[in-house]
Structure formats: C-alpha cells, structure tokens
C-alpha cells in the first residue's frame, strides 16, 4: 500500500485528536484525545520505519534501517503509560474536590 495512505490516515487521526482537545469539555475525553494524537504518531512512525526499510533493502539485504522508528514507538508507549498514571491521578484529585470532571471549572477560577 502506498505510504501516502498511511500519512493521510495518521493526519486524520491526529487532527481528530487536536479538535477533540480544543473543543471537548470533559477532562477524561480531552485526555483520550491526547492519547489518540500519540497513537496516530505511533502508526506514522511504524509506517515510515517500514518505508525506509523497503527503500534500503534493495541496496543491502542485511540492512537494519528503520529499526529505530519502531524502537521509538515503544518509548512513546512507555511514556504515554507514565503520563496516563499521573494524569488520571490529577483528574481524580480534581474530582474529589469539585465532584466533576468538567474543565469549564478551570475558567471559573480565573481572576
């Protein structure tokens, strides 16, 4: 499959994530949209990794080009997991004090 399809798919997923972050008011959904952005990047990295491998294999059958892209994906997964744990803890802390996960409450406190 041409690489363009992957790029379009990833950009679409990424844009859905960005629009979600900017428009939704529920902290959990905003958070899910951030995760969607990260996963779009994961998919794109894997696609690019495969593309670079495919380009290099013709010249050298033993090549390891593209392996770093897939390695990066694992790091993104680990960091995303760490971020989830901290982020959910923060949301729970907020819920305990306000009994809501609506981020409009953030603007209420602005002076």
């Amino acid at each position: 499959m041409p690489i363009q399809y992957y790029i379009y798919l990833c950009l679409a997923l990424f844009s859905i994530g960005i629009i979600g972050v900017l428009t939704r008011r529920n902290a959990i959904i905003v958070f899910m949209c951030v995760e969607l952005m990260l996963n779009a990047v994961n998919l794109l990295l894997v696609a690019f990794s495969k593309m670079h491998y495919g380009l290099a294999i013709g010249a050298n059958p033993e090549t390891t080009v593209g392996i770093d892209g897939q390695l990066f994906v694992f790091f993104i997964m680990v960091v995303a997991a760490a971020e989830v744990s901290v982020g959910l803890a923060i949301i729970v802390m907020m819920y305990r004090n306000t009994h809501s996960v609506d981020i409009n409450f953030l603007n209420r406190l602005k002076n």
Binding site: I7, C10, F14, G17, I18, V21, A27, V30, F31, V34, M37, L38, A40, V41, L44, L45, F48, M51, H52, L55, A56, A59, V65, G66, D68, G69, L71, F72, F75, I76, V79, A82, E83, V86, G87, A89, I90, I91, M93, M94, N97, T98, I103, F105, L106, L109, K110
Partner: protein, 461 residues
Amino acid sequence: MNAIILSALLGVVMMFSGIITKNKSNITKIAAVGLFLLLVANVLNTYGGYVVHVDTHSLLNFEKFGLFFNSIAITATLIYVLLSGKEIENVGVNTAEYYALIFFVLCGVSILSSFNGLLMLFLGIEIMSIPLYILTGTDKRNLKSNEASLKYFLMGAFSTGIMLMGIALVYGATGTFALGTTSISPSAGVVKTSFLEVAGLLLLFVSMCFKVSAAPFHFWTPDVYDGAPGVFTSFMATIVKAAGFIAFIRLFDTHTDVLGPTWKILLAFVIIATLLIGNITAVFQQSVKRMLAYSSIAQAGFMLFALYSNNDFAKEGILLYATAYSFATIGIFAILIKMKDYTFDGFNGLAKSQPVLAFANTVFLLSLAGIPLTAGFFAKYYMLASVVKTGGSLWLVIVAVVFAAISVYYYFRVIQAMYFKEGEPETTTITTGFKTGLVLLAALIILLGIFPSIVLNYFYF
C-alpha cells in the same frame, strides 16, 4: 553521564529516606548533601572523570556547553533548597517525595542538556515534565493548585503530542532521529521529501514554544505559575525554563538551514510577541506572584535572542542569562513565599521591618531589570550583542531595549512599595540563616555583574 545516573539514583534514595526518617529538616539536609554530591560528580564529568562509562551509541553527546549548564542548574537547585527548604517541608506531608521528584526533574534536565537525537529530546522533556505535573498539584486541598496541575498536565501532554508528530514527520523525511544529518542519499534514487521535514520542524518549534512559554503559546503560564505552591513555582520558572531553552537551542542549532529565511522572520515574530505580551501584561498585575509569571514570559523573550543569533557569543550569553535569571528569581521567590500577602501592597514598608530582606530583594529585582553592576545587565548585554554580531536585525535590538525599559516599571513598583510606602508587612518567621543566605546570593549576583567572566571563562577550560 554522571549527572543523569546519579540524579536518578538520588531520587530513589530520597524516596527511601522518607521511610527511614520522619524528621522533615533531616530530609532537607539529605537532599542538600545529595545535590552537593551531584554537583561534584558533574564537575568531575566536565573534566573527564567518569563514575561509570556508558556507551550511549551517540544518542547523547556530552560537550562542555551542556555539562556546564548542568552545573549551573544543580547549583541553582542547591541554592533553592538551602533558601526555601523550610517552605518545601511546609507544603505537605510527603517532603521526601517532593525532593525525589525534584531529583527526577534534574535527571531530565541533564538529558536535555546533552541529547544528540530526537529520541533523547523526547525522553528528556517527558522526564522533566511529568514530575512537574505532580509538584504543581501538591497542594491537594487547594482548588487553585488542582486547576494549575490539570491545566499544566493537559497543555503539556498536548504539546508533547505535537512534538511527537513533528519528530515523526522529520523521521519520515530524513530516515534518522539524529540531529543535523540525513541518511537518505540522493544517489539512492529518493527525492528528498523536504516538505515533510519543514512541516515537522515547524511542529517541533511550536511544541518547544509551548514548553518555554513563548507567545502565542504562553497562555497556560500565568495560571499554572499562580496556582502552583510558591516554592515549586520558583523551581518551574527558573531551572526548568532555562533547561527548556538549552534544549531549544541545541535542537535548532543545526536544523535552521532547512527552513531558510522564513525561520528568522518567524522567530522575530515570536520574540516580539513574547516581549510585548510578557511586559505589557505584567504592568497591570496586582499580585507579585502573577507579575513574576508574566516577567518570566518577558525574560523568555530575551532568551530567545540566543536562538535568533545562533553563534558562539549567544551560547556564552545564554549560560550567563540562565545563571543571572535563575539566581535572581530564586531569591525573589524565596522572599515572596515568606510574605503573608502576595500583592504589591503586601510589600509596603518592608524596608522598615526587614531591612535585609528589602535590600536583597532590591538587588534581585535590579538584576532582573538589567541594571548595571548586577548579573542581569551583562546577561541582557550578551544577548543583544550576539544579535548585533550577526550583522543585520538592528531593529530587533531596539525593540528589545524599549521593552527592557518597560520592564523596569513593574520591577520598581516592588522596590517603591518596600522603601517609600508605609505599612506593616506580615511575614512568617525569618531566621538569621535565611538572611545570611539571601545576602550571600545578592553578593554573588553583584559579583557576577562586575566580573561576568567568572561564568564565561569557565566555558573555555
């Protein structure tokens, strides 16, 4: 390498020290000793002494610039812990954990100062940011702290997403995560997809602007700095921000030629917007804490000049600026969090009741404003001189000087309140040790203002 390994280990040590001892001031002492060890290890590293030798496969590149910045950051943290340790103990019950998080942030800072590829940039930013989200929210019962923490977290995660997209696009175009190299050769029959690289670099630029709170991506900064507990705001606004700039400069050191002349126009726009929004909004603030948040945006505008000129002079300048700005801001925050009232009126008549505090505060504020004989003057001088050295863009220097003049207004409002207004400022108990520390820090800032070569010469040896 020493700093990265040791700071991570010390973070774990701090967590266990919370189990061993319940005495909070002992924990602060352990942290101060740990920071001192870290500083020694890093200085050793600068001169070729390794505790452990690790082959990083060129993911990290330990050069003088980064290692020296580590020393500055660790020294600033040490000063911060010595001056504000009492307040860290008073934030909540988990003192040991706060220090552990501070050490983890330092680990991220040391990665950011010597990364050699986009993978390490990403990891460094995240290791630095995630503990900060927690530190911002440590005042658990306070709604403002909750708000700040959630806002910081969502903005941070969002900008991380943008950064990752930028990294992925750059990878697609160049086939490597290393800085400033392209592994795709034209002979392989591949047309260089430079559109992807340009788009990726722009996304990276936007996300780094988020991290260093440069306008127009600064909107989270005042709320987060205002809502976070004062001690941790001090840490965020100084060491972390300076580290963000070091990463920014290392990242765009080599990549700018891809962007062409548009790069300078884009950067000039961001610099002017940052200076404008930071300085003008700071004028209208009633709370000193919020004023300092906007002042940190304004100072970020000055630090961006190092990125703009991008020469050796600028690299020396950014180190001096990081030192001058961090030391002065840590001092001001140390005094501010001793006050009961954070507004300008809260400082009324401080010179009568606490002359030492008022004097030290004056030195710090003068340094931030860039008055000669303080470190801030030479810091600003080096930033502007580096732009002059590049040849063009003199108009940008003039704009910067005008905004520096505006900044004098809001810094002097504090001085005016302390010396020329009557009032009974309420402070928490102030020990002699704290006063001595402040006077020493003020003396250090004046010393740097007279002999900036103390910092700059070190860079060459």
